[in-house]
């Protein structure tokens, strides 16, 4: 008789290559019978930024710190919710509209923890992980400015 697995494997990857969501979920849930919910969030390069058409997007990061910063928030998520697995993949390089940029998978026994942890991780990825976006459009190239609404989204997780 084997007892149910209750570990929380963590995978954090920063890569140029694309990812396959179905494959990543399969890896996360393989041989597990304790996972009742997997939430996946994928961020995709959009073709427009409110006003202008985007031809391409370039993602730059701070190697070393980016992984550490994601790990810090993954640890924080694990201390807040009963999670059974976390995968965070962030791509860097140049992307065309429609291409994948980021993937967050959170697994738990029940859906609520998985939903909340995924949202928590994304809010912090956007405001605290050292990644920067540069847009290319018909009018030229420019660095994307941070949005106050993203800071507000992250601030709601602050413990009072």
């Amino acid at each position: 008789m084997s007892s149910p697995v209750t570990t929380c494997p963590v995978a954090i990857r920063i890569q140029e290559d694309d990812f396959d969501i179905a494959r990543e979920i399969a890896v996360l849930t393989r041989s597990r019978t304790d996972i009742g919910a997997v939430v996946s969030f994928s961020g995709i390069c959009r073709a427009d930024d409110d006003s202008s058409k985007i031809a391409a997007l370039t993602l730059e990061h701070y190697p070393g710190m980016a992984e550490e910063e994601i790990k810090r928030h993954v640890d924080e998520a694990m201390s807040r919710w009963p999670l059974n697995g976390i995968t965070v993949i962030h791509r860097v390089g140049r992307f065309m509209p429609g291409q994948n940029i980021v993937l967050v998978l959170t697994a738990s026994q029940h859906r609520r923890a998985a939903f909340e942890a995924a949202e928590f991780l994304m809010d912090y990825l956007k405001t605290s992980a050292p990644f920067w976006k540069k847009e290319e459009s018909a009018t030229g190239t420019g660095w994307v400015e941070a949005q106050a609404r993203d800071d507000e989204a992250a601030a709601r997780w602050t413990k009072s």
């Binding site: 710190m65 980021v102 605290s128 992980a129 050292p130 990644f131 920067w132 976006k133 994307v144």
Partner: protein, 83 residues
């Protein structure tokens, strides 16, 4: 100490990293930014709005009043826009 620049800070300074030796009187992040700003036009341009610049010491976010003593690597960059 090693200094790294990212995104438009890197483009404005004109290099991704360098080794600097600020005088002992430069004790905080804020003072380091002021000192760097006086090192030439490119630096003055990069740090023209010091409040916008984010700083990390040895891979951890810090505030403007953080002490730089003992830092191995200091990074300057604009607010993050990943995800």
């Amino acid at each position: 100490m090693k200094v790294k620049y990212f995104a438009w800070v890197r483009e404005r300074v004109g290099k991704a990293e360098e080794t600097i030796e600020p005088p002992a009187s430069v004790r905080t992040v804020e003072e380091l930014i002021a000192w760097l700003s006086a090192q030439g036009e490119a630096y003055a341009y990069a740090f023209e709005k010091p409040k916008v610049i984010r700083t990390a010491i040895d891979h951890a976010h810090v505030k403007a009043d953080a002490a730089i003593a003992g830092a191995r690597e200091i990074a300057f960059f604009p607010p993050m826009t990943g995800g």
